[in-house]
Symmetry: C2
Subunit: 181 residues, 2 copies
DNA sequence: ACAACATTGGACCGATTGGTCTATACTAAG
DNA sequence: CTTAGTATAGACCAATCGGTCCAATGTTGT
């Protein structure tokens, strides 16, 4: 059950880092939530808390990428895909503890640590690539697709922050109309 | 020199919270940077670290509002105003330690504390209002101005995050062309 | 059965956390 | 000069921080 313990740690860490930030989350908290003891943590993640943060951010990033692909799979235009995605994230915001972007909370919260920054850049770039891929699938040329991907990525991250400040998902729900106008 | 000590604390706290986040910054660090001792801090800010965070965020928010107004004052269209503003922030990013939005780092970094959230919402709303005011000054009707303000606010916050992840100001510099297209 | 290795539990550590408290120094009003 | 209120310095505190370490347990191959 090696991977089980590892997975439990990643899931617990992802949730806590997302909610309280990297520096706002204690190792003991993660351990308690995961139902795992210290020995196991440092066995699976020799780098300790920092290792766990990078792993959990990658996990969260991949999970969100899947959500993006599912949102775009069920629609037939870029605009409706954006609509579906923003609605999905807004629902996540309203119904779960996804009140902040996990990458922002986990990797960019504190120290401009090199591995953290590199991981964050990689994950954002991946999202941007996925957005661009879908845009081209709907007929956009390369340049237009890049522009649309940048717009969506920036808007999403920005709206997520403002939504957290307001305690409401409205900013996230506004994105489709803002990108249309 | 009452206000001097208070101002020194606010300035030191604003810089440190912005760079390392609220939870990533220790009270001792702030004290050391400000050249002030503990007694003074808790005299001027009875609420301690949290009080200081709210005060420094308001200070940073007001400072940035001034930058916005200056950027828009020197131009004669909304587009050139946006250009000037984004360039100013990008320069700040490249030349100083303003590699993150102070509100994001200071108030939204960790706990979804009520006073923190309220202050952050207030400051963002203020920025949005200032953006809208300038848009209307350039002839936009109320609705269009609101839309432009939302777009700019979300883009700015989002690009700031992605810029931090990349360690480059490029995302911030892209905003004008993204908003034009 | 045995050995080698993977995994876990948890005691323990020094450092740092934010915060309290008191003695002292400064300043202004009488 | 005295008094009252403001401001500062820093010792001190319990709690928590992330991390190390080792004994015990589980697992696997021979």
């Amino acid at each position: 059950m090696t991977d089980d313990t590892r997975a439990k740690l990643i899931r617990a860490a992802a949730a806590l880092f997302r909610e309280h930030g990297y520096n706002g989350t204690g190792v003991a908290e993660v351990l308690n939530r995961a139902g795992v003891t210290k020995g196991s943590l440092y066995h699976h993640f020799p780098g300790g808390k920092a290792d766990l943060a990078v792993a959990s951010a990658h996990w969260a990033g991949a999970w969100l990428t899947k959500q993006v692909n599912e949102s775009f799979a069920r629609t037939d235009t870029m605009a409706t895909g954006i609509e579906a995605l923003c609605d999905a994230i807004a629902e996540l915001f309203d119904r779960t503890t996804w009140t902040a972007c996990p990458i922002n909370s986990t990797l960019l919260d504190g120290a401009t640590n090199e591995p953290f920054q590199a991981a964050a850049g990689e994950i954002f770039e991946n999202w941007r690539a996925v957005f661009g891929k879908h845009a081209m699938r709907y007929g956009a040329d390369h340049h237009t697709a890049q522009v649309q991907a940048d717009k969506l990525l920036f808007m999403l991250e920005g709206a997520w922050i403002v939504a957290r400040a307001q305690g409401r998902s409205d900013p996230l729900r506004k994105i489709p109309s803002l990108l249309a106008g």
